[in-house]
Symmetry: C2
């Protein structure tokens, strides 16, 4: 191993190889603190040829590698749980000039989401994906995990933004197809195959991203309902009638009261409502009238608060985005991130608290999420961190209703034992065959996504 | 081979195995008549288990298979050029009930585009891809070729519509992931990998497609300009300012005059204009005013014709969609389908006629296409069908400007020799590795897409 570390230092320079666990600490433990590992070396290449040489060296030595971006993931996918070399891509942070004619920009894997958003804004455009960790999440990590976020309803997730890619295979070969053509049927779409592959197939070094219009006029509205059915019917109507809709979020009376009290946020309403839908529209013309006209027809609408200026809009969004912070004040929650089919979303939302109570009678369940995507963040408080019975119950319940055990956070290490709830053995066999074709020695992030045959939780023996 | 044909008949029934070349003729020659082959048997399975059994039998026998849908392709990708068994998917034509809550529908590979459009319309929704061959093109073929079409600007191509898939591997194993969840980060996206794979990785048997809103109000406008630069600047403005824009098409004065005279279509203008942009907007509110307001600001706009009713709209569209028919009256054209980067589109359009003349002085060049996608259909008349020098010159010119040699028609057999213009050896090696992982015996459509090492045209020796 010392030989390998010396070889790596020869490639990237001594100061970009961190071997002291104290110095390297930020690379060894994930954002949640739940997943931590150790590494013979954290390597920080500054160019694509350096990435290629580092991977070739590790591949020659048969040493496993964990690619790492902003290390903001929640499923233990970017830390060296098995003593891997950590390959940090953060130095590949160049944001190239925006191609204004194509509405595209090519960026290094280490560029943060915020840097891409700034570059797009400076060119009078926007980037279609947004999420809370924008200042630290890197584009490479967002590609590897196929990040979703707040605007998926309108623009899709990361996979829908990737118009071209550059990546390095385990053996150091560099692949690139960065033309960014909107129509280009000349073979397999390797760039999009890498989206969501969690660093197991190749290391993404650059991507060409599509940009979207910067809409000048914007309105947010918080809609209050007494029942889940009314709220979800409203979500469908809003999607169907408003071409300008950008986000439709869902939360509940308990969560809103918690956010208001824990974070000292004022409620726009005089009374408590059970179900809240937060909708945002944007367009070049003011979308307020069309939103008001559609909202006015919604059956069961109990109250509504509309905001057009940045300050009042942020106040409405704080009610939704304050959920994680407010919930954390009750102690570390179990955080589960599931998607339901549209036809089963109401049933899931109404039944999951009882499912949680059946395994943890003292627990409290908090639900919030992206209503139009069927994506619910299930947070559970009042359960010991190491007790995974709640996680199992919620994931099994989502899967039983036809849902996904991982909406936008990925599989990583955390959900690997449950992947069989969503993927049949035939698909897993093909995943492994593709993995073996691209990474025959299996050095790329070997402890995420693909379960070893022995690691399948909860299946009948 | 007789043994295999008997085994196939045992699987699908005698009447679904066609061995007489006269009876099978429609399966052996492609739509253009340019590509024709022969086959020991055309096999028409009626269920997924039958597809699986047919493929397993062929794989056991080491006999190659060409999957075939509507056989409407233009690049020789679905006919048995190497004596393959033809696997027709047309009997898998079930369109399942529309999932109105999810805006999705699951359909068999053999369903036609028109059948899907009808099912969507009956549910008050629409399908996001449209193209001229809608009555015969099948969904399976459209997935395999990643069809683009008229509305890619707004909704993307087939890859963007595929929310779930079912497919059969060469050895008969069935893969399926048909949940149709909008967010689902549980592994590699095999469904989208199959999009554009031209039947080389697996045989698609069912897909779950997303549907889009049915917009009730619609307006078309034909905008006339004197120069390409003015027209392309208008395309950018229209995209940027109009959230309701659904299509932006481009054609030219020569082509418009040809369509008007050859098809007896009236021109809406009193005089000839050099460059024409056809734009269509749709929304729930009438988009005419916002289109008129944006169009009124376009520099260089020489004339405009607006149509809101179906009849007048169809008359404007006839000017664009009549191009292939009118051009065919001049004799069989060479048809090339390329994409250019937005920043080089004007340069390509202005220079390609001279490029054609440099190798075929008597030829005439006709250009039309999907302006917002950078996708130009280059038709050349007055050149012998077998003379490929024009094809080579146009494809090389597109590639030299950073463009793709195949925008939406695919590679097939026709463009395989030129694939190296767009794809580096490293990418082609990965394509082959993935192909070998999924189809180790190489029985699936072996004569398309991936060039054998020896078949690389025009490279220096």
């Amino acid at each position: 191993m010392d030989d390998l570390v010396r070889r790596l230092a020869g490639i990237v320079g001594d100061r970009h190889v961190l071997v002291d666990p104290g110095v390297a600490a930020g690379y060894l433990t994930d954002w949640t603190g739940r997943f931590a590992g150790s590494s013979p070396a954290v390597v920080r290449p500054g160019s694509v040829p350096e990435v290629a040489a580092v991977l070739a060296a590790c591949n020659d030595a048969g040493v496993a590698v964990v690619p790492q971006g902003g290390n903001t993931g929640l499923v233990g996918g970017s830390v060296p749980l098995g003593g891997e070399v950590v390959l940090s891509l953060r130095r590949l942070s160049v944001v190239e000039p925006v191609d204004r004619a194509a509405w595209q920009v090519t960026v290094g894997a280490g560029a943060t989401l915020a840097a891409v958003q700034e570059a797009a804004a400076a060119a009078g455009l926007a980037f279609g994906v947004d999420l809370g960790a924008r200042d630290s999440a890197t584009i490479g990590g967002m590609v590897a995990t196929n990040a979703g976020g707040l605007h998926l309803l309108r623009y899709g997730g990361m996979r829908d933004q990737v118009m071209g890619y550059e990546a390095v295979l385990a053996d150091g070969r560099v692949l690139a197809h960065l033309d960014g053509l909107l129509k280009d049927n000349t073979g397999y779409d390797l760039g999009r195959l890498l989206c969501g592959s969690e660093g197991t197939l190749a290391v993404v070094t650059r991507v060409r991203l599509r940009l979207v219009p910067h809409y000048r006029q914007r309105v947010s509205a918080l809609l209050a309902f007494a029942t889940v059915d009314e709220a979800l019917a409203a979500v469908t109507s809003l999607r169907e009638e408003l071409a300008s809709v950008e986000a439709i979020e869902l939360f509940f009376g308990d969560g809103m009261e918690l956010v208001c009290s824990a974070l000292n946020v004022p409620s726009p309403f005089g009374e408590r409502h059970e179900v809240l839908v937060l909708v945002e529209c944007s367009a070049q013309h003011d979308p307020t009238d069309e939103l008001a006209s559609v909202a006015g027809e919604l059956p069961g609408l109990a109250d509504v608060a509309v905001a057009r200026e940045p300050g009042p809009r942020a106040a409405l969004w704080r009610l939704r985005e304050g959920h994680p912070e407010a919930i954390n004040q009750l102690g570390p929650p179990h955080k589960l991130d599931v998607t339901l089919p549209a036809s089963r979303l109401g049933e899931f939302v109404e039944s999951v608290p009882a499912v949680v109570r059946s395994v943890a009678p003292e627990a409290r369940t908090w639900l919030f999420g992206h209503a139009a995507d069927g994506n619910i963040h299930v947070n559970v408080t009042g359960v010991a961190t190491e007790d995974e019975s709640v996680d199992e119950a919620v994931l099994r319940h989502a899967a039983a209703l036809g849902g996904s055990i991982s909406a936008e956070h990925g599989v990583g290490t955390a959900k690997r034992p449950w992947l069989h709830l969503n993927r049949a053995p035939e698909e897993l066999a093909v995943f492994r065959a593709i993995k073996a074709a691209l990474d025959p020695k299996g050095i790329l992030n070997p402890n995420v996504l693909l379960p070893p045959a022995a690691e399948v939780a909860g299946t009948p023996a």
